[in-house]
Amino acid sequence: MMKTLSRTLLPLLLLGALPAGAAPAHDLYLFGAVNITGRVIGSRDVAKNGVYVRTAEGGFTHRGINYPAMLGGAFDPRDARVFHVAAICGVLTTADGGLTWRIGTSWDMTEPKAVAVDPNAPDMVYAALPDGLGVSTDRGHSWSRRENGLPARGKYTQVVTVDRTAAGRVFAGSETGIYLTEDAAQNWRRVFPVVDTVTDIRQSPHDPKHWLAVSQSAGALESRDGGLTWAPIAGITGRRALYSVAFDPTRAGRIAIASWSLGLLTSEDDGATWAFRNEGLPEKHQVWRTAVDPDNGRLYAAIDSGALFGSDDFGRTWQSLGMEDSRIQNLVFVPRARR
C-alpha cells in the first residue's frame, strides 16, 4: 500500500503546491476511490478510498474510513466538520470531519447519487436516489421521501442542487428531466423534459440566475432566469453523454464540461464557442468530473480509471496530480472559514 500511496502522492510533491500566491481560502475535498480496476463488491481494498483532503503541500491525504463507494459530499455551512456523503449504502454523515460516521438512511434508500445541503437552511439535506428523492430535516439523522410532483416511475435522480439564494429552492436532475421545488421538496414540477438522465446542475457563482446543466443525451442546457426555463446550448450536441459541468468562480464566462467519450470541453465566452482541451490528457481522456478552484482558477479533470489532472491555463496544458487508477466522483471546495 505504501508503494501505491507514494505513486499517488509523488507527482503532487514534484509539481509543488498550488500556484504561487496567498494560502488557499478553500480546502479541497475529493470523494472517490483509487485502485478501482477490477474492483467488485467484496474485493480487498489495497488502497485507501473515500475522502481525500488537499494538504498544505498540495498533495492529498486520506481522511477517516476506507470506503470505496463514496459518490459525493455536501458540507454544513456552519461547520465544515459536519458533512454528508452519498455512498453505496446510503447517506453517511460525519460530525468530526470524516473520522466517524453514521448511516442516516435505512434499507429503503440505497445507492444515492448525490447529496446537497441547503446553505440557507442547513439542517435540510437532500439526496438524489435511483428511485426518487430523499430529504432529511435534521442534519442527516433521519430521512424520508418527498416526491410529490415527481413521476411514479422515471425518477432516477442523478443530481440534486440547491439554489444558494433561496431556502428550499432545489433542482433535481433525473431521467425524465429537470425538476424544481421551491418549498423544500414538498412539491416538485418539471421545468425541462429529457429522455435520458440529467447528470449535473450548477449555479453560476457570478450570477445566481444563471444555471447550467448537462445530460446524457440532451447535451448542455442553460437557464438565465433562475432555472425556470432552460434551453440547449448551441454547439454542444447530445450525441455523447456529458457527465459534469463547472463554472470558473475566478473569471466569469469560463465554463468546463466533462465527458467520458469526448473528454474536456471549455468555453471562455460564456458558452458561445467551445474547444476540446484534451491535449496533454491521457490518450483515453475519459473525463469523469471537472471542477475549477475558486482560489486560483485551476481547472481539474478527473480521468476515469486514471489520474487527476490540473491545468493552470484552463485546459491548454495539463499536469498529472496523481491519484492514478482512480474514479474521483466529486471535488468540493470548502471555505476555510467554516473550519
Binding site: 474485493s43 466517524t100 475519459q286
Partner: protein, 629 residues
C-alpha cells in the same frame, strides 16, 4: 476431467488449497433412484457433511497458517474442536485487515458463532472490533443484501445493547437489528408473494442458502430462526424441482461462463450432492459450500423435497413466476414479472423464461439439456441468444453511466459481457416461447446495436450433428434427439471458453457456435426421447414432416406444429397462441406443477410428492407436514 477453478466468480476471500482427496468429487458419479429410510438418509447426509469438514480441515498446515487457513477452515476447525490455538492466531491476523462487504461479513459471522465459546477473548474481541472499525458495503444486488442483513442481524443479536459508536454503521445494536430484521422480512415477503429476483441461480444459491442456514441456526428470535429454516425449504424445494440427476436445468436468473456450458459445474450441484446425494460435488465443494458445511447438521432436508429430487413419477411441467433484477430506469415497473417454464423428462429437460430481461449480464434464458450419467466435464446443453451489450441496459439495471460499464464489467468477473461470441446474458431483443419440449426464440435486433447477430451453442458432446437439406440441424445428446432450426443463414465459429470470472485468455474446449448475422432472426428447437423413435432417422423424418411456416418480415413470426401435436403461432412482440388460444401469462401462479404450488401474493408454498406434503406458510409462520391416507 479438467480441474475446474476452485473459486468461481466470487471474490477471492478464501485461500487456495490443494485440490486432492475429495472422495465424492473424484469418485464415481452416484446413481440414486430412491430415498432411503429416514435414519439412513440422515446418516448419509451427515457423512457427506463430514467429508467436507475433514477435507478442508486436512488442508490446514499448522506450519503455514496464513497460507492454508481462511475463515472457512477456521470455522470448520472450530466445529471439529481442533487446533483452537491456530484458530486464535489466524483470527487475530485476519481481523487486523478485515474485508469490506457481504462476502467478508458472512464468513466472519461463521467464525464468530462457531468460535463464540472456543476462541480466546482476544480473538473474539478482534472480530467484534472489526465490526466497529471497518465500513461494510451493502452492495447492489439481492444476494448482497441477503448476506449483508443476515450478517448484521446475527452480529447485532450476538452483541446486544451496545452503543452506536461501537458499530461501523454508527447505529446501536438495537437499531442495526431492527433495520436488518425489517429488510429480511421484506425480502421474504417479496420472494413469497411475487418471486425471487435471483431465481434458479447456478452459483448464487449459496449466497442465499448460507445466510439462511445461519439464521436458522443462530438467530435468537424464534420467529427469525423459523423464517430462516422455511426459506431454506423454499429454495431447496425449487432446486429439487428444476434439477435432473442433481444438475440444475433450464433458465437461470444469473449464471456464469462455466456453468452455462458445463451445467453440473455449479455451486448448485454442491447443494444437490449434499442434500440429495445424486450428483458429484464440484471441485473444492464449490468454495462457498465450505461455509454451509460447518452448520449443515442443523438443517434436515424434508423428506418430501428429497423425494422430488430423486423419485420422479414421470414427465412434468413446472410453471412459475419470478421477477427481474431491479429496473432503476427505462421500465414502468421496478421489477417486472418473469415467467418460467420447465419441462423435465427422464433423459432431458427443456426450460425457459418468458418476459423481460431478468439480468442483462448473467441471465441464461433457455436451453435444452440432456442427462449425462456422469456430468463432469460434459456440456449437455443447446440454446441460442442475442449477445447483447449496451450501456442503456446497464443503466436500466444499475445506477451507472452509459459508457464505462459494458467494458468495465469484463474486468469485474464477467469477462464475456462485451464479446460478440458470448453465450451468456439477456437481451431486450429476444422473445421466447416454450410448449413442453418445443422452444421458439425470436429476435428483432435494432439496427446499430453493438452486435447484430445471434449465437447458437452446439456442444462438443453432441453426436451425429447433421445439417439437413430441410433446414433443420439434427443431433443427438445423451438419450435425447434434438432438432434445431435456424430461421436465417448462419456460419460456424469455434466456441472459446472463459474459464472463470477472471480469465483473460480463452480455452478451446470443443464445441461450436452457430452465428447468424441477421437482425431479424429466430431459432426453433424440438427435443424428444431417443426411446420414442425406432431410430434417429425416424426422428428426422418425423421432424421434416411437421408443418412449419415462418417469416422474418416485418417481424419474425412462426407457425409450427410441434412434435407433440400442438399448433403454435408465435410472433415477435405478441402473445403466443397454442391451438388457437393466446397464452395469458398474467394468470400464471407463483408456482404451478405437480410438486410445487403457490398463489401470487400468497406467502404460502405447498410442496407435494406422492402422499407427502409440506406447507410453508409465511402468513402464520407455520410448517405443516401431512401424509395422505
Amino acid at each position: 476431467m479438467k480441474a475446474s477453478q476452485f473459486f468461481r466468480s466470487a471474490p477471492a476471500l478464501l485461500l487456495a488449497v490443494t485440490l486432492s482427496a475429495q472422495p465424492s468429487f473424484e469418485g464415481p458419479a452416484p446413481v440414486v433412484t430412491s430415498v432411503p429410510a429416514e435414519d439412513q438418509r440422515l446418516a448419509a447426509y451427515h457423512a457427506r457433511v463430514d467429508e467436507v469438514l475433514q477435507w478442508r480441515a486436512g488442508r490446514v498446515d499448522l506450519n503455514d497458517i496464513p497460507g492454508t487457513m481462511d475463515m472457512a477452515s477456521i470455522s470448520i476447525l472450530l466445529t471439529l474442536g481442533r487446533d483452537i490455538e491456530a484458530c486464535n492466531e489466524r483470527v487475530l491476523q485476519m481481523m487486523a485487515e478485515p474485508g469490506t462487504g457481504p462476502f467478508w461479513m458472512f464468513p466472519a459471522v461463521c467464525v464468530a458463532f462457531t468460535g463464540r465459546e472456543l476462541l480466546s477473548p482476544e480473538a473474539r474481541a478482534s472480530i467484534r472490533e472489526a465490526w466497529r472499525t471497518t465500513r461494510q458495503l451493502r452492495g447492489d444486488t439481492e444476494n448482497h443484501w441477503v448476506m449483508y442483513y443476515a450478517s448484521l442481524y446475527l452480529m447485532s443479536e450476538l452483541y446486544p445493547n451496545e452503543p452506536a459508536e461501537t458499530w461501523y454503521t454508527g447505529r446501536s445494536s438495537e437499531e442495526n437489528l431492527a433495520e436488518a430484521r425489517e429488510w429480511l422480512i421484506h425480502w421474504m415477503d417479496t420472494t413469497t408473494t411475487v418471486g425471487q429476483g435471483e431465481f434458479n441461480t447456478t452459483h448464487y444459491i449459496g449466497e442465499y442458502a448460507i445466510p439462511m442456514l445461519f439464521m436458522a441456526t443462530w438467530a435468537k428470535d424464534p420467529a427469525m430462526k423459523l423464517r430462516g429454516r422455511m426459506m431454506l425449504d423454499w429454495m431447496f424445494a425449487e432446486l429439487a424441482t428444476v434439477s435432473l440427476n442433481g444438475v440444475l436445468r433450464g433458465p437461470n436468473a444469473r449464471s456464469d461462463e462455466g456453468s452455462v456450458i458445463e451445467r453440473w459445474n455449479a455451486l448448485a450441484s454442491y447443494f444437490s450432492w449434499l442434500l440429495f446425494g445424486n450428483t458429484p460435488p464440484p471441485s473444492g465443494y464449490g468454495g462457498w459450500g465450505l461455509y454451509f458445511a460447518p452448520v449443515a447438521k442443523n438443517y434436515v432436508l424434508p423428506e418430501v423435497i428429497h423425494r422430488i429430487a430423486v423419485e420422479r413419477d414421470g414427465d412434468y411441467v413446472q410453471r412459475d413466476r419470478a421477477r427481474t433484477r431491479r429496473f432503476w430506469r427505462y421500465s414502468d415497473v421496478l421489477s417486472p414479472p418473469v415467467y418460467k417454464t420447465n419441462y423435465l423428462r427422464h433423459d432431458y429437460a427443456v426450460g425457459s423464461t418468458q418476459g423481460i430481461v431478468n439480468d442483462v449480464i448473467q441471465a441464461h434464458v433457455w436451453d435444452v439439456t440432456w442427462r449425462e450419467e456422469d456430468p463432469r466435464g460434459k456440456h449437455p446443453t443447446m440454446f441460442s441468444l442475442h449477445p447483447h451489450s449496451s450501456g442503456r441496459m446497464m443503466q436500466a439495471q444499475f445506477a451507472t453511466y452509459p459508457e464505462p460499464m459494458p467494458v468495465g464489467v469484463t474486468f469485474e468477473g464477467k469477462p464475456s459481457y462485451d464479446s460478440p461470441d458470448k453465450v451468456l446474458g439477456g437481451s431486450p431483443y429476444e422473445k421466447v416461447f416454450q410448449d413442453l419440449d418445443t422452444v421458439i426464440a425470436l429476435y428483432d435486433i435494432a439496427p446499430g446495436e453493438r452486435f447484430e447477430h445471434i449465437n447458437g451453442f452446439f456442444s462438443k458432446d453432441l453426436r451425429d450433428v447433421t445439417e439437413d437439406a430441410s433446414g433443420w440441424i439434427f443431433a443427438r445428446g445423451g438419450n435425447a434427439f434434438l432438432a434445431y432450426r435456424p430461421l436465417a443463414p448462419y456460419h460456424w465459429i469455434p466456441y472459446l471458453h472463459y474459464n472463470g470470472g477472471w480469465a483473460t485468455v480463452r480455452d478451446d474446449l470443443g464445441g461450436r457456435v452457430l452465428t447468424s448475422p441477421h437482425l431479424k432472426n429466430g431459432t426453433i428447437v424440438q427435443a424428444a426421447g431417443a426411446d420414442e423413435f425406432e431410430s434417429f432417422e425416424a426422428f428426422k423424418a418425423a421432424m421434416r414432416a411437421l408443418p412449419l411456416e415462418f417469416t422474418l418480415e416485418p417481424v419474425p413470426s412462426v407457425r409450427f406444429t410441434t412434435l407433440r401435436g400442438k399448433n403454435v403461432a408465435f410472433t415477435y412482440g405478441e402473445a403466443p397462441v397454442v391451438d388457437g388460444v393466446p397464452v395469458d401469462y398474467s394468470k400464471w401462479k407463483l408456482f404451478e406443477g405437480p410438486y410445487l404450488n403457490a398463489e401470487v401474493g400468497g406467502r404460502k408454498l405447498t410442496v407435494t410428492h406422492g402422499r407427502l406434503q409440506r406447507v410453508l406458510d409465511f402468513n402464520t409462520l407455520t410448517v405443516k407436514d401431512s401424509v395422505r391416507e
